[in-house]
């Protein structure tokens, strides 16, 4: 960047509006989602009956583990269970 006139500064400040708050909050939840999913997978690996329950109803398993059961969390849980 070479020119710093105030019109250009205003234009560049306008170029980065905030992302929707709900998106930011969801992204900030990612570590909690991962650790919740890891706990479910660990338990499922040790308990076949629980594993069948998780496979049948991943949303309920996530909710029980206090993880928001959004699409990405369900997908992550399925992927890790399949490994």
């Amino acid at each position: 960047m070479t020119a710093f006139d105030e019109e250009r500064l205003g234009d560049l400040l306008s170029a980065l509006p905030p992302a929707p708050e709900s998106w930011v909050r969801a992204a900030q939840e990612i570590p909690r989602t991962h650790s919740g999913v890891d706990e479910i997978v660990e338990r499922a690996e040790a308990d076949e009956e629980y594993r069948r329950y998780v496979v049948a109803d991943p949303e309920a398993a996530l909710a029980e583990a206090d993880v928001v059961a959004h699409v990405d969390a369900v997908e992550l849980l399925r992927r890790k269970l399949d490994k």
Partner: protein, 197 residues
Amino acid sequence: MSEMDTDAVEAMGLHVHLTDGQLVARCRAGEPEAWNELVERFSRYVYAICVQAFKLSEHDAEDVFQEVFTRAYEHIDKLRDDEAIRPWLAQLTRRLCIDRLRAGSHEQPEDLLDPIGADETLARLDDAIAVHEALAILPDNCQDILDRFFARDESYRMIGEALDLPSGTIASRISRCLAKLRLEMEEKPPAPRPDIG
């Protein structure tokens, strides 16, 4: 920043004055506040790439936005250069946007797969990041008023109500803060432009 300043910042649970590399290192160490700050720091940039450079719909942009941060979280251990997190995120966002456009390409003309002007928009966003970094050095009242007026597109009336200021003084405050920002930019060394092509 002095060690004492750093301690004070940390005591407040803030990481706003950490470099990108320091922030990445703290995320890798599992500090929840560091991850929150990383998302906060780069959320506007990732969002702008999705909706301005690649003109994704809000729905597609939200999917790409979450995917970018999910991959960042999963691969943060594998970054070769912690200070290069921003160009890495830009590259990742760009690739996921193109994948998203390609997935819907039965309805899209071929030239939307890498939209004309995307590179220019990405360059503009890098300049915008540099301005925001300079903005972060200004006093809080300047940061707030400039962000509200330019980035959040708030009217003088809304700003006046939010900050408890007479609306007749808003324009002059914006002008003074812009002048301070200009000074910061003039003193700032030029940042190398990331190669994300």
